[in-house]
């Protein structure tokens, strides 16, 4: 458990920028950051700030960023060759159960699920990725799940693409048929609770990845607590029951 890094941050350069519709971008970096799917890194832009992000991929390290504020906007403006700094990886990861996995992502909740999909596909497992967003141009990482050979289901609140409604509606039948061995979800908290509670009723294993405003990222400051849990150290991945 003890960690003694020589330096907190490691410098990377952006090698490629993949646009993610109106939502943001994916930044592919020039080095690896070995991590378990679901773990996160603290991303530092000198003079601008430092925030937690899930790893979309660990080799090469890749970040998918939704533009929501000044810091994420600055990240979205990075070009190939630009530098950024990472420390981590931190926190707990997803645990793959069985061989058939249902991934349920809302908005940028798709990001940690993409690394999970990569690991599961590398083991030859079946993966269905259900991605939800408000509108078609806010969907993220569909290309990535397709490239990994996942079956992709899409739901939008305005019906602009895929199922018209919530992503939980879209996967309800799969859950009721008990298709998956395990369910993995990340996204807005009401969605997480809805998914976790439905999966609990069906009686399948469920993991959720939580998001909280975070400062230290290393289990010291306590700013990312939910109840007596710390998202940075006990999470960000929790068993579904813990969020009910």
């Amino acid at each position: 458990m003890s960690r003694q890094p020589q330096r907190a941050h490691r410098a990377y350069r952006v090698t490629r920028v993949v646009p993610e519709g109106r939502a943001g971008v994916t930044l592919i970096l020039d080095g690896a950051m070995p991590a378990h799917p679901g773990q996160f890194v603290m991303v530092w832009l000198p003079g601008i700030g430092e925030r937690p992000f899930s790893l979309m991929d660990d080799d090469p390290a890749s970040l998918t960023v939704a533009r929501v504020g000044p810091f994420t906007s600055a990240l979205c403006e990075l070009a190939p060759g630009d530098r950024l700094w990472l420390r981590g990886p931190y926190g707990s990861g997803f645990e793959l159960v069985g061989r058939r996995h249902l991934l349920v992502g809302g908005g940028c909740g798709a990001v940690p699920l993409a690394l999970l999909a990569k690991v599961a596909r590398a083991r030859g497992h079946q993966v269905i990725a259900a991605l939800g967003a408000r509108t078609a141009d806010l969907l993220m990482l569909r290309w990535r799940f397709e490239a990994l050979g996942c079956q992709v289901m899409v739901a939008t609140e305005d019906g602009s693409v895929g199922h018209h409604g919530t992503v939980l509606d879209a996967v309800q039948q799969l859950l009721d048929d008990r298709w998956p061995d395990g369910v993995y979800t990340c996204g807005p908290e009401p969605m997480l609770r809805a998914v976790a509670s439905h999966v609990d009723t069906v009686g399948l294993p469920c993991w959720v990845s939580m998001e909280r405003a975070m400062k230290c990222g290393i289990g010291v400051c306590g700013s990312c607590h939910f109840g007596d849990r710390l998202v940075c150290r006990d999470g960000p991945v929790f068993e579904g029951r813990e969020v009910l």
């Binding site: 458990m1 003890s2 960690r3 003694q4 890094p5 020589q6 330096r7 907190a8 941050h9 410098a11 603290m42 530092w44 000198p46 003079g47 700030g49 430092e50 925030r51 530098r83 700094w85 420390r87 400062k215 230290c216 990222g217 290393i218 289990g219 010291v220 400051c221 306590g222 700013s223 607590h225 109840g227 007596d228 710390l230 150290r233």
Partner: protein, 331 residues
């Protein structure tokens, strides 16, 4: 705790006998008349921003817990990066982020209610720009009836805004203590800074002004970490307080000097990561031992681990209570 002879089988010591001997070791401490089941005190600023995590620290084995410092008005604190593990410890400039004394009072009330059945005392922590502001915050926080109020006069991370910490000057430190003493009759601790050549003078002044106990020490520095590729300091505040392993020898020296000079009890805080470190701090004269950076290194298991190591070491060295070696290093 009484002692009773153990039945022995000839020539062999069973594990339960060894376990029974360990259980004869009394880890309790008396801090200003309050019994701590063990000497480990969760230090201020670690996990202390909500009732639930304070209670979790207590369940994980802390003998007492300290809430995060609060001021009269809410504060956002410094932007990130605020905390780093630089290899030899932590450096932090959280900047005293807190929800303000009124909301802190509610957090403390909830914490106290949950801590009472566990027998774990609660220490509130307060800071301010002026003696008057300290008093106003203390009045609010006191309504939650914490077992102690600790005055944080020593944060090194807000100097640009607050000016020189009160803890660097015996007179200023005494002024704050005396002012608060005038409005608060409960147990009062004052947290001292290692960043002064006169810590003993500050301790004496604060004790004379009415402090019941001291917490020694706050973080060291401030220090700075520069990222050579970014070509600038990493902390958004540029500088921050050093804690963890790098702080321990300084903290031990401070506790040693203070406890030789004043009679009031001291919570020895700074880089205690193991049972041996805890014993060292008590031998330096500490009544209780603060735990901060260890929570980063060992997670919530820090308390159980340090206590188990301390117990084992006490057994090895033939001690049955903390009093048998408290301050014994004074020469």
């Amino acid at each position: 705790m009484g002692w009773w002879p153990l039945p022995t089988r000839k020539g062999c010591t069973t594990t339960w006998q060894a376990a029974a001997r360990v259980s004869l070791i009394d880890l309790s401490a008396d801090l200003c008349g309050v019994r701590l089941r063990n000497p480990l005190v969760l230090a201020s600023g670690i996990w202390g921003c909500c009732a639930e995590t304070l209670v979790r620290a207590a369940r994980a084995g802390a003998g007492a817990v300290t809430a995060k410092s609060c001021s009269l008005e809410p504060r956002k604190g410094h932007p990130n990066p605020t905390v780093l593990d630089w290899g030899g410890g932590l450096i932090n400039a959280v900047g005293l982020a807190n929800p303000g004394a009124a909301e802190e009072r509610d957090i403390l009330r909830a914490a106290r209610q949950a801590l009472e059945p566990l027998g774990v005392p609660l220490i509130a922590s307060v800071f301010g720009h002026s003696p008057n502001e300290f008093c106003q915050a203390v009045r609010l926080v006191a309504q939650a009836e914490p077992d102690f109020i600790e005055l944080n006069i020593s944060c090194p991370n807000v100097e640009s805004e607050f000016g020189r910490p009160f803890a660097l000057d015996p007179e200023a430190a005494a002024r704050v203590t005396e002012a608060v003493r005038g409005v608060y009759s409960g147990r009062l601790l004052v947290k001292l800074s290692p960043n002064t050549p006169d810590i003993v003078d500050v301790a004496r002044a604060v004790a004379a002004a009415g402090a019941d106990g001291l917490t020694a020490v706050n973080t060291l520095g401030p220090g700075m970490i520069i990222d050579v590729r970014a070509r600038r300091p990493v902390l958004a505040n540029l500088v921050g307080g050093i804690s963890g392993a790098a702080l321990r020898p300084v903290a031990v020296r401070c506790v040693y000097e203070i406890t030789r000079a004043v009679d009031i009890p001291v919570i020895g805080t700074g880089g205690v990561l193991s049972g041996e470190d805890a014993m060292e701090m008590i031998m330096a004269g500490a009544t209780a031992v603060g735990i901060g950076s260890a929570v980063h290194i060992h997670g919530e298991g820090a308390f159980a681990r340090i206590l188990a190591e301390l117990k084992e070491l006490m057994q090895e060295e033939g001690y049955r209570s903390l009093g048998q070696f408290r301050g014994c290093a004074h020469v």
